[in-house]
């Protein structure tokens, strides 16, 4: 079973992401973190198969989390789930090594569109 770490400072948004994963057909094992610092600790303790992270968070942003992961040798597949889905943000995400960016609000179809190619 694929193990995902969902990172967002909003509990309700983590809940919505997990619900949408299920609706998209991904019955994954889920762990949650409330910011980049918590996420990095969770990754160091037990590396997940994929990280889905908000961008804009207190303590440590999603972008800083991705950079910290890569600097520490974690090449875990990483995707942003963020309210800012402009072309500039997508370029920044890709340049930093993110596999995809899902813009909020999202649908189960939006999840499948970006996750299926990764699973393939």
């Amino acid at each position: 079973m694929i193990r995902v770490l969902v990172v967002d400072d909003s509990r309700v948004m983590r809940q919505i992401v997990v619900r949408t994963l299920r609706q998209a057909g991904y019955d994954w094992e889920v762990r949650e973190a409330g910011n980049g610092v918590e996420a990095m600790a969770a990754i160091q303790e037990d590396e997940p198969d994929v990280v889905l992270s908000d961008w804009n968070m207190p303590e440590m942003s999603g972008m800083d989390l991705l950079k910290t992961m890569r600097a520490n040798g974690f090449e875990t597949p990483f995707g942003f789930v963020t309210s800012e889905g402009s072309p500039r943000m997508r370029e920044q995400a890709e340049a930093a090594g993110a596999l995809f960016l899902i813009a909020k609000p999202f649908t189960p179809e939006a999840f499948r569109e970006v996750i299926e190619p990764v699973l393939a």
Partner: protein, 164 residues
């Protein structure tokens, strides 16, 4: 003028998509409000009793904020709909989290309409808005499930090359 991209149609479309995807599951429950008052001078949230506001600020080539304003009871109903918790009581933490996230997603999408790089602040929730030097450029007077709900945008394009 680039702020023309932030108009009623574009922000209303964002709001409808956000509410349909996150809150209601269907479009059509967030509609323009017709309460007989079409004055542009009343300001954001005017006439909404016991108001609660959630907002995010943007900084960069543009500074400003996007706010969602509605009555406290309606805000609680919104949070319950978002959480899918039926009639469960809404805690202050739930209100700050869920109502703030609505402003965050609406504001993030409004920011995406603006040219140039910029940063989005973290969402805040309160019963009044702090003062701002940025002008109010847009107020959407809407109704969600029949209850008044305003979405307002304040924006200043920072001076650059004299193009304001």
């Amino acid at each position: 003028m680039t702020t023309a991209t932030v108009d009623f149609a574009s922000v209303f479309e964002i709001a409808q998509v956000v509410f349909a995807a996150m809150v209601d599951g269907d479009e059509g429950l967030l509609v323009p409000r017709d309460d007989g008052d079409d004055s542009d001078d009343d300001g954001a949230g005017a006439g909404i009793a016991d108001p609660v506001m959630s907002w995010v600020e943007v900084h960069g080539p543009y500074s400003g904020r996007t706010a969602v304003i509605t009555g406290a009871e309606t805000a609680h109903a919104l949070v319950r709909a978002l959480l899918g918790d039926g009639d469960a009581p809404v805690t202050d933490a739930d209100l700050v989290d869920a109502f703030g996230e609505i402003a965050n997603v609406v504001g993030g999408n409004v920011k995406a309409l603006l040219p140039g790089q910029g940063t989005l602040g973290l969402p805040k929730v309160a019963t009044s808005l702090p003062p701002t030097a940025d002008p109010l450029v847009l107020t959407l007077r809407l109704a969600w499930r029949g209850e008044p709900l305003d979405i307002a945008v304040w924006l200043t394009q920072e001076e650059e090359g004299g193009n304001r």
